[in-house]
Symmetry: C2
């Protein structure tokens, strides 16, 4: 997997309106009714991430979740990040 350049990233982000490109990572903020709902959603993502062998960096505070995607090995954003981002949107949708 090779890192995408910025124009490739911005083009691909057009299909992901809730995602932003910040500090070299794809960001998504989500909010839920409460902690249980948030953690239940994290669990869904965890199984998909494990299946894709590609995992989010994420920060959870009660009902709020910040997801940050990048490919550590490639030192940037790769197709793997976009695949996981689309999976997360499908789960959320």
């Amino acid at each position: 997997m090779t890192a995408l350049n910025e124009s490739q990233i911005l083009e691909k982000l057009q299909d992901l309106p809730h995602w932003t490109f910040e500090d070299g990572r794809l960001h998504r903020k989500l909010e839920f009714k409460d902690f249980k709902s948030c953690f239940a959603f994290m669990t869904l993502i965890a199984f998909e991430a494990e299946a894709q062998k590609h995992h989010p960096d994420w920060y959870n505070v009660y009902n709020r979740l910040l997801i940050q995607l990048s490919t550590h090995d490639a030192g940037g954003i790769t197709e793997n990040d976009f695949t996981l981002a689309h999976t997360i949107e499908k789960l959320y949708g």
Copy 2:
């Protein structure tokens, strides 16, 4: 629940050698074999946190977990944070 003062916090931390007091929160860093092990442990904590009605702020990157405890409503550290910290150590031990 009232916030503890710094000397109370530091005294109580003596029973929690792996925890530090940083930026107004109790910090604990944990490392696991892989993502699955890390997330499995997060799930154990999630159930306990929900039972205690007190939840961690936490950041997960693959097999690493940073836990940050504070009591948002009290604007500081309370007994609830120490209760949860001890629970986490018991689960980890």
